[in-house]
């Protein structure tokens, strides 16, 4: 099993050492009803510099702690994530670390107007790291399309064409001319190409969009589900497995990854208190307003049809969620905040957030591994939590949780993509594919 960890690199203040600043920023985000679009006058570059360096230090230290992979992502125009150009951070890590994989989940291809430039950036990171890059691609959140002026109605077309082009640029001897639908390059001849051949392993993160899952299965790219609920994740992995069978291969743990929100501490109550903050810092409920999450044409027609019939769909006609936002009293904000944190009990029950001491955390992680059987696993730490607590969490994961997980991984046969190439197990025609996820394991959730 390949074990890594991830954080959104949130812009925040430590609520324990700078409570007023922390509360003020949180209130502004709540008033905005969205992380995305918070005016950047709220950004203090000195604080941003401190945090970015802290996040890089954590990543470098975590290699010493024994993590296999250092996972990064990218968001734009939001205090949710300081990594607005992830490849810059990846380049730093490429030089500052020696062993861990640098896992980018992922580059938002549609928002990068120049896919050739992206191919070159990634190739450089692969070279500097000595072949430790794992690139991944995303469509980017709806708000990302607005923040980068990328036409959302062509989002999936940009995504698919861009990914194909980058791989072509890495693997086809240049110079050649490329005339696609959306990308045009008259002279494709990147001098720097990846050290990993034929190209670095590609993993795709997602929020269980069926279109992306099918696309991944066809391409034999591992699919990494980003903290999605277990039941739909099982369904979508079954879809992947079925599609893989049609493509003539047996999917295995090497085809799947899972990102799990976790907070580990020495004391159960304290760990849960810190874990709760994840709901504020990592909850997608207020990542962006619905009209920014779903700009025109971003969703498939099927997804739009489903959304049109959801009774509580916030973007439905007549329910503009942002109306009335911005003028709440302090009491009203408290109520919104209580509502956000009240979700903790549900998240705890459904294993969407696992916070506690190692003894509490390990059996719950075992359950997640038994159900999903991923070959790739990433811890996700987030929320406004001080540096000391974050480091302690990483150390506890390293010393107590990770060794236990490796044993569980061996027991469950959770091979990763470096142990077995995804898509390399042929499935003869007519033979039934074996399901990877074990839905039965859901029946006995830890109390």
């Amino acid at each position: 099993m390949h074990i890594m960890w991830f954080t959104e690199r949130q812009y925040h203040y430590d609520p324990e050492t700078e409570p007023e600043k922390s509360r003020d920023l949180e209130n502004r985000i709540l008033r905005n009803r969205s992380f995305f679009g918070l005016p950047n006058q709220n950004f203090d570059p000195v604080q941003g510099s401190r945090l970015l360096n802290q996040y890089l230090d954590e990543k470098i230290y975590s290699e010493e702690l024994g993590f296999d992979g250092l996972m990064l992502n990218e968001h734009h125009g939001t205090p949710f994530c300081l990594g607005s150009v992830m490849d810059v951070e990846a380049a730093v890590l490429a030089k500052a670390t020696k062993r861990a994989k640098i896992v980018l989940l992922g580059n938002p291809v549609p928002t990068v107007a120049n896919a050739l430039r992206l191919a070159e950036e990634l190739a450089m990171i692969d070279l500097i790291s000595g072949g430790r890059l794992v690139p991944g691609w995303v469509r980017g959140a709806g708000s990302e399309q607005l923040a980068n002026n990328a036409n959302p109605a062509y989002n999936r077309e940009y995504f698919e064409e861009g990914v194909d082009f980058i791989i072509k640029a890495w693997t086809t001897p240049g110079p050649f001319r490329y005339e696609g639908k959306h990308f045009h390059f008259r002279f494709v001849n990147p001098w720097v190409v990846p050290i990993q051949k034929p190209h670095p392993p590609i993993w795709i993160p997602g929020l269980v969009s069926p279109d992306t899952v099918v696309w991944c299965a066809k391409k034999r790219f591992p699919y990494v589900a980003l903290a999605t609920r277990l039941e739909p994740t099982v369904e979508l992995w079954n879809l992947y497995t079925d599609m893989a069978a049609r493509e003539g291969y047996q999917a295995g743990p090497e085809n799947f990854g899972y990102l799990q929100p976790v907070f580990v501490g020495d004391n159960q109550a304290r760990a849960e208190e810190l874990g709760k903050r994840f709901l504020y810092g990592g909850a997608f409920a207020h990542f962006a307003r619905p009209e920014w999450m779903f700009p025109p044409g971003y969703n498939s027609k099927e997804a739009t049809r489903r959304m049109a019939r959801l009774p509580a769909a916030a973007n439905l006609p007549g329910k503009p969620i942002h109306e009335g936002g911005g003028n709440e009293t302090d009491e009203e904000l408290e109520e919104i905040r209580r509502g956000v944190y009240a979700r903790y009990e549900d998240s705890k029950r459904d294993l969407q957030m696992i916070a506690g001491t190692p003894d509490y955390v390990i059996p719950r992680l075992r359950k997640v591994l038994e159900v999903l059987r991923p070959g790739i696993f990433s811890f996700w730490l987030d929320g406004p939590v001080g540096y000391k607590d974050r480091l302690r969490c990483l150390e506890l994961i390293s010393k107590e949780v990770m060794p236990a997980m490796r044993e569980i991984g061996k027991e469950l046969g959770l091979v990763d993509p470096f142990q077995r190439k995804p898509g390399s197990v042929p499935l003869p025609a007519g033979r039934q594919a074996e399901r990877v996820a074990q839905v039965d394991a859901l029946a006995s959730m830890p109390a």
Binding site: N149, N151, A153, P295, P296, G297, R309, L316, G318
Partner: protein
């Protein structure tokens, strides 16, 4: 039978693509080019202007009813597609009335082929960058908010609640999303204007042209009317007070009177 009752859907082939056209009435043809949220429904002005005329409202490809034509990627592509329909149905020269995005399409058609129209009515057309103010960005707003912003005062616009059949059904939500997505394909960037349009119009269009605009238009600022007026020789601007982006429903009677007098 009222004209409304006579509205029927006709399906045409334009090249290798389909085009569904709403048709009503009989007589001298009048081409109606709808706005960016799609065809808003049959209003009083439709009833009045279709008297003694054959009103044709093409439902643009990708806006829900007519299937998307993947090659149509700009307003000019769409304008040429609709011009081909007009030519092939032997409708030219035809009177046209275009609303918002539809006004832009009409202007592109006229710039490409000045002989295609006999008379032109542009109602708060997009297509030219306003010298003052910005065109409201529909892509960052829910459809219903954009619709609401299109009139100055809903309480004084009796027909507002009839637009898009009230706009609240799941089917209409899907139709709005289709329209928004196709508009994004056509007009994402530059947003809702074509920098070359004033140059292409200037000295080209000779058909009599009426430009109708609400002075308090929050969608396409009325400042753009001066550029249209200057670019189309002999055009006349009717600026309406106390009116937003929808003169046809906000100032329905005045609108009907002006347009009927103009079209004759």
């Amino acid at each position: 039978m009222t004209a409304r009752e006579s509205v029927r859907e006709e399906k045409y082939k334009v090249g290798s693509d389909d085009l569904i056209v709403l048709e009503a009435g009989a007589g001298k043809p009048l081409l109606v080019l709808h706005e960016e949220l799609g065809y808003p429904g049959w209003m009083k002005w439709n009833e009045a202007l279709s008297a003694g005329r054959r009103m044709l409202t093409p439902l643009y490809p990708g806006f829900g009813r007519t299937p998307r034509a993947e090659w149509i990627m700009s307003v000019r592509d769409l304008a040429c597609f609709l011009a081909r329909f007009v030519r092939e149905r032997k409708l030219a020269p035809i009177d046209v009335i275009g609303f918002s995005l539809g006004g832009w399409i009409a202007a592109e058609m006229a710039a490409n082929d000045p002989a295609i129209f006999s008379k032109i009515v542009l109602v708060a057309p997009a297509g030219i960058r306003p010298p003052e103010g910005e065109i409201m960005d529909m892509f960052t707003l829910p459809a219903l908010i954009y619709l609401r912003e299109s009139v100055l005062d809903r309480s004084r616009t009796p027909e507002f609640d009839s637009l898009y059949d009230g706009g609240l059904s799941p089917e209409q939500y899907e139709a709005f999303e289709d329209a928004r997505a196709e508009t994004a394909r056509l007009a994402w960037q530059p947003y809702m204007f074509n920098p070359s349009l004033p140059h292409l119009l200037e000295g080209t269009v000779t058909a009599p042209t009426l430009i109708v605009w609400g002075r308090q238009d929050r969608i396409v600022p009325a400042s753009a009317s001066a550029i249209f007026n200057r670019s189309i020789a002999g055009s006349r601007v009717v600026a309406l007070d106390g009116c937003g982006h929808r003169p046809e429903v906000e100032k329905s009677e005045q609108f009907i009177k002006e347009v009927t007098n103009f079209l004759g």
